[in-house]
Symmetry: C2
Subunit: 189 residues, 2 copies
């Protein structure tokens, strides 16, 4: 354990400059968005200003959404509301909704007060060609130096992975669904 601690300490020491990072949470496993919302909680604990953009939402409000709206209505929180969900099959209205949502993201990507920005499920917008990849990469690259950005979603593409400082892949090893157990509200993983 002493050795493990030494190694961790050395890694921390090696890290030279403090600045915002880009974190990509990808992979086919569940828990990517949960992880992003956990970071929101952490940031709020530190008194940081946080922004949240969700590019895909189901028809029902998720627990995180209810929580943010009820307990932290001061957080800028935008969702691709009436547009894209997993249920729609209307490509042109999806694209329009994606573009409107992206405008909100771009605004926050220029706001130096925002210390943590969550772009939940953004990767799908690129994968389905709803948004322009270069425009996204540019806006993220040009954000304020202190701002961290967390992007979730499967895939993400080589360019986004290259841009990201940290890439974590969540792998689905075993899943309750496959064992015939209904995922519960609150742990719907």
């Amino acid at each position: 354990m002493a050795k493990q601690k030494q190694k961790v300490d050395a890694n921390i020491k090696k890290a030279q400059c403090e600045k915002g990072i880009v974190l990509l949470l990808t992979g086919d496993g569940k828990g990517k968005s949960s992880s992003a919302f956990g970071m929101v909680m952490r940031s709020l604990g530190y008194g940081h200003k946080v922004g949240i953009i969700q590019f895909i939402k189901g028809e029902q409000l998720s627990g995180e959404e209810v929580f943010i709206r009820d307990f932290h209505p001061e957080i800028p929180f935008f969702q691709m509301g009436t547009g894209f969900t997993w249920d729609t099959q209307d490509r042109s209205s999806d694209i329009a909704a994606a573009k409107t949502t992206w405008q909100q993201a771009e605004k926050l990507l220029k706001d130096p007060d925002i210390q943590l920005l969550i772009l939940d499920e953004l990767t799908y917008m690129v994968a389905y060609d709803y948004l322009d990849e270069e425009q996204i990469l540019k806006a993220i690259s040009e954000r304020p130096a202190e701002q961290s950005v967390v992007i979730t979603g499967r895939g993400g593409g080589k360019k986004l992975r290259d841009l990201a400082d940290t890439v974590s892949e969540v792998k689905d090893i075993k899943h309750a669904f496959r064992a015939g157990i209904q995922a519960r509200q609150g742990v719907d993983l």
Copy 2:
């Protein structure tokens, strides 16, 4: 996308019984505890009662800890405070602290009002032989049927993986530390 939706819907339909699940968040990547805290946020949004036990903590309070204490002091939240941290090298005091903390976990594992219980970093207690694996497996198996348990930490062992309904592995693909960027408070991944 229609096909993907069909598949997801089918999986949901296949899931027969609604009951609490055991979720193991493992792997060497970062974001396991964040993910657990994201689920806490989700559960709070649904109005569920949540309990949190942390088996390892650093010397400084993390953002999640500050957040829970400041905004949700009603949540049962125990930490292996003065005992085990990554900095201690005193095995016997670590074991004593682990046992005291486990008693708190056991109490919540018997409380039918707790709908989500986080056992953060529990796997290390088993790996270092600080706690008895069989005792842990038994307490988790015998918990109230409606209670979900989320266990985080590397490894976990075959028995815990077998007991878990869902196992997600977080893989560290690329890490800001290695690129020489200091992890920021709030995103310290």
